[in-house]
Symmetry: C2
Subunit: 771 residues, 2 copies
Amino acid sequence: MPIKTAIFYLLIITSGLFISCDKANNNGTLVEDISAFNNAVSNAKPGDVIILKNGIWKDAELIFKGEGTEKKPITLKAEIAGEVFIEGVSNLQISGNHLEVHGLFFRNGHSPSENVISFRTNEKEVANYAKVTNCVILDFNNLERDQDNLWVQFYGKHNELSNCYIAGKTNGGPTVRVDLKGNQSIRNFHKISNNHFGPRPRKGGARGETIQLGSSFTSMSPSNTTIANNLFEECNGEVEIISSKTNFNIIKNNVFYKSEGSVVTRHGNYVTIDGNYFIGDGVNEQYGGIRIINTGHWVTNNLFYKLKGKSFRSPLAVMNGIPKSPLNRYNQVTDVVVAYNTYVDSSSPWQFGVGTNIAQADVLPKSEIRSARPLRTEVVNNVIYNSEGDPNPIIEHDKADGVTFESNIIYNNGVAIANDHGLIAKELSLTEIGKDLSVPITGFDDVVIYEGFDFESITNDLLGNSRNESNKIGAILNAANVNLDLLDKSKYGAYWFSDVKESKEVKTFNVKSTEALVTALNEAESGDIINLINETYQLPKSLVINKTITIKSEGKAEIIYNGAASTPAIELHPYGKLTLQNINLKGTTTQFAFASLKENMSNHFGLAVIDSEISNFNYALKVYKQSFSEEIIFKNTTISNCENGIELSEETNDRGDYNTEYLTIDNCLFTDIKQNVIDYYRGGYDESTIGGNLLVTNSTFTNCGAKEQNKTLLNHRGIINVNITKNTFENNPVQFISTLWGAKNNVASDNQISNSGKIATEENLKQKLMY
Amino acid sequence: MPIKTAIFYLLIITSGLFISCDKANNNGTLVEDISAFNNAVSNAKPGDVIILKNGIWKDAELIFKGEGTEKKPITLKAEIAGEVFIEGVSNLQISGNHLEVHGLFFRNGHSPSENVISFRTNEKEVANYAKVTNCVILDFNNLERDQDNLWVQFYGKHNELSNCYIAGKTNGGPTVRVDLKGNQSIRNFHKISNNHFGPRPRKGGARGETIQLGSSFTSMSPSNTTIANNLFEECNGEVEIISSKTNFNIIKNNVFYKSEGSVVTRHGNYVTIDGNYFIGDGVNEQYGGIRIINTGHWVTNNLFYKLKGKSFRSPLAVMNGIPKSPLNRYNQVTDVVVAYNTYVDSSSPWQFGVGTNIAQADVLPKSEIRSARPLRTEVVNNVIYNSEGDPNPIIEHDKADGVTFESNIIYNNGVAIANDHGLIAKELSLTEIGKDLSVPITGFDDVVIYEGFDFESITNDLLGNSRNESNKIGAILNAANVNLDLLDKSKYGAYWFSDVKESKEVKTFNVKSTEALVTALNEAESGDIINLINETYQLPKSLVINKTITIKSEGKAEIIYNGAASTPAIELHPYGKLTLQNINLKGTTTQFAFASLKENMSNHFGLAVIDSEISNFNYALKVYKQSFSEEIIFKNTTISNCENGIELSEETNDRGDYNTEYLTIDNCLFTDIKQNVIDYYRGGYDESTIGGNLLVTNSTFTNCGAKEQNKTLLNHRGIINVNITKNTFENNPVQFISTLWGAKNNVASDNQISNSGKIATEENLKQKLMY
């Protein structure tokens, strides 16, 4: 070793010794605990690298402050990317300039503060030119659904979240928010790019966005945030996947894959939504497209593929505004451009006047009436292709008389179109451009392009081809050498993390005793089956369900629960998704058959009861406040001799929340249920919450509702989608079977009713204003 | 002449012959009439010059469309600048690119359309890179005050209004408006520079701005308009001189000289107000400064000099907002910076929570209550100098708890300060920096400068000195070699026009007969005096006043009007400003003493009645709708035996309008006036209209109001400033002398009342909402 080099190393080692006992070399300073970390941070100079030692960092509140330079940022990284686990009550706060964070994995915990990763350390100290990259945040949920927080909160300017995998948020609050309060955070030019936003389960109510850019209170501010090249997969939190609430944002080249929501220009103006893929399955009506509110947005070069969303979730939903709207409500749509988009097999892709509620003027204050139609809006140079013809590609909830339609074409498989607004019929065919992706590309070269104001700024197509030379309408100019794989995970998320679950063999535990049942429940992995061999099981304590489990029997085994009053035979914990099949579950009148936890329901539960019998309980199902299930189903099941039936009605703070997205009762028999036979509640006037969903079908209700205080058998006040069909109601001592909400999607049909009250309809339900 | 040159000239002459009979040479095409003009316009090529022949162009609707280039604009100019007069029913519309207009004089007429000069020719065709320069618009008013219009209306982008003189607008509507409806007019980067905005008389009510940038309906749009280096002189139209209603405008280096209003960030955000001079006279309380609403404005390097405006018109008025304000009302102030300004001899220069109206919650809807205080606002690095100490330099109408005060200093001549928010007391003196202009410059080098976020962008001081090297607080770094003349007209307006009126010798016409009186009235010039020599004049027809005239006598000459019923003895026409002194004016009970025109009051009138007697009329003064006077005064005058007194109450459409700015009754005697003794009305809830002004003092009212329907002697409903003081009320058969509006500036004092009802107060007047 030459002398100079030796001295160099010596110096480094020495300096390492000075700052702590941690190892230091020219690759950085390795720190093993929080105090060493803090020490390293406080001494960090431009170019320094602070390395977190592999392993679990529990209850770590990491404050990363520093002053790097453009050429010499200060870096915080994992010893090995993906092998540093931030767990317990932990978070990361960053402030200063030119800082980078690499390779951390947030899991098995939650944040002590209002965010998991924050680009500031206090109100005055924000981060600029800081980057969080190749990190993962997974299921890092607060203990209660109502404890809202954010997982990544941007402040400052020129910060970046890139190549991260982020999934599983179930508590309230957007996954990522850009905050603009204060001049230090406007014109921020943040970048959110190449991330994989994995599944975000349905939250049940509002405050479940994946990304929110600002808030109505900063909706006048220039943000200039770019969201580009991300994959949004099953981002189902609520109706808005991205809620843009500030000005001049750019949403470009993202893939929205089977995500139950839309990109919404909720507040703010002049947002560019260019070159994105919105991919559905041709079936699910929850997958949305782009919903437009406010002024000056440009929607260009996007592909809408097999979307079946309606109204708020239609591929293009242009809303009515409120005249002179309050700051936090709906401004009129003006000066919007929708050009060069392609719509393939998407139902009624263009909808205008969405959200008009003139009919509800009696129950809503004037400041809630959306009667202001779009103005100076251009819908031009677009292509629609329908394998199955759509008689109504354009729906006007209110008149689109402020919209210019020009140079739009449609292939409609011969089906006549009502209200075509000049759509030009063309014979088109599909060209394959990648995996499960075919679009019309040829057959309309002759269509004269509408040249709107500033259209020369639309320089490229969806694939990046230049529009300068041989331009034409639609999102894609040509498909030569194109073979897209939109789900190619190598382009998104952390390189070291895969969300692909290895397929596991399902294990079946045959149990003969209650003890064996409890042991099996502990030992089983998610997805396993417990098979009850014996005929009868005496159960003295609640069974805990905290994973995906099936409990079944061949011969309808009997479980007799004799635990304490007001405790459940089966207790549904976070992640607990139970299928109970062919079981006869009995209580001794004072207990609950199924219940969620009273608190700390930090993740969703699920319940399917099939071919079973539930009897002699106080409650068949008791779901506590802040508990949420995506689906609850009772099928081919008898529920009898209970004081209460199925209760999901504790979300009474009227913020739009509810306890299950879907409640399905199919081919069941309800007998002698005294009250709360079915009680499913959503409260609060919130036009953009479009759940829950109640289906009651092929079922029979007899002698139920005797103690129901409001004299109604099926209580579902505020639930948006209700279908009561093909049931039999006999001898139920109530006044009403149900009161349907006429203005929403509440319907009843083919029910047989005798001596059971009637099905009423209330057109406009009075609701507490949420805003 | 070389052959080539000869051919060149021949070609030009020939081409001139081809297009019309107008003369053409290499300096341009001279056109004599509108058809030649139209022909020249339709043939114009880049670089062409179209020359309007000298003289009067009557009823000329000029449409100037063309496609010039950056290097070769198409020019429309006067043959000699200032000698082409656009008169009658005329206007100018411009569209296309790179166009210039020079040297036109709009006078003696009005526009047939909604604007005099428009930067578009129809909804689709706007102007870009067009310039109107060295033009004059003078008194080009519509015939009625309520016929709102604009004198210059901007559309498109990159247009300019420069070096123009514009004055005398009396009808409704801003003098200049920038219109942003449509993407073709956003981010417009228009320039309004080096203009002289001459006197705009008080309009009486709203809609009298000198410049309006957009409207609430486009308040979300980026405008990027610059208003720079203009002189605003006596721009008294209403409370807002400049009403900025869009985003990112720049208001820089202007002089606001004795202008009764403020620069107001009415809607929109992120406006820069830098390096302006606000000059008052130390007396007039109508001269305002800067009033702040909304988000992100920067107020820097401004000088506020001898301003006495209060509340809405205080030098710095920071308003309270309405929580979640409707689009057209008041957003909360957030993220505003007020730095490096200097305030000299300006009363209570900083006022916060201006416009708070929490106390009026009973009479106003919730959506009108301004209770949202400023947030995240910085008032720093400012200098205040008070020759006479001001005990309250900071007034908090509502708490300024969201405002940071740092590094502000004050010289207060030893007077103690309440509520100083950390103001640092300093001993300062004034340095003369120009004509009638002295400011504190030294004595505070030691004050530590507050370095707010992005403050490095404040690179210069008011005079253009760099702040990079030896920065300090206040608007001016040093005064070396500075000798400002803010009113140096060579820097503003059209070079060929002067608004300086030559002083004229006042001529006195001594008249002995009615015929001579009428003849003299015709012959007199504005400012002249008519002296009545005889004792009595029988007047069979109305005297017409259409200029500034004094009619007087030495021995109280008697004018007996015996014209038709309901006609006035003296008819006040547009521009008619009469002083009647020492005259005994009598009617025969059915006529009016004074009246305005019923229609076509295209300009203001004025009336002063001094040392006179008015008797035996139906009305003493009848002012019709849409007539307006800046001042009406009755002094040392008796009004007796009239059915009606002084009536100014026809502005009943409740849009905030009224008929006179000031009505003064001083040392008068009212006897036997049956009704409408004084009837002065303003209607409509409009917090920013702060007139009219009624002063009734030292006067005696006897036997008045017998037929007054509402049993009130002095009716002044809706008038903001009322002072009833030192009067005697005797034997007036009314219930109330007056009902004062408690929440506004209505006061009464030192009145002697016997057998005349009482003076009541109504704290909150119910008013019709204007918005």
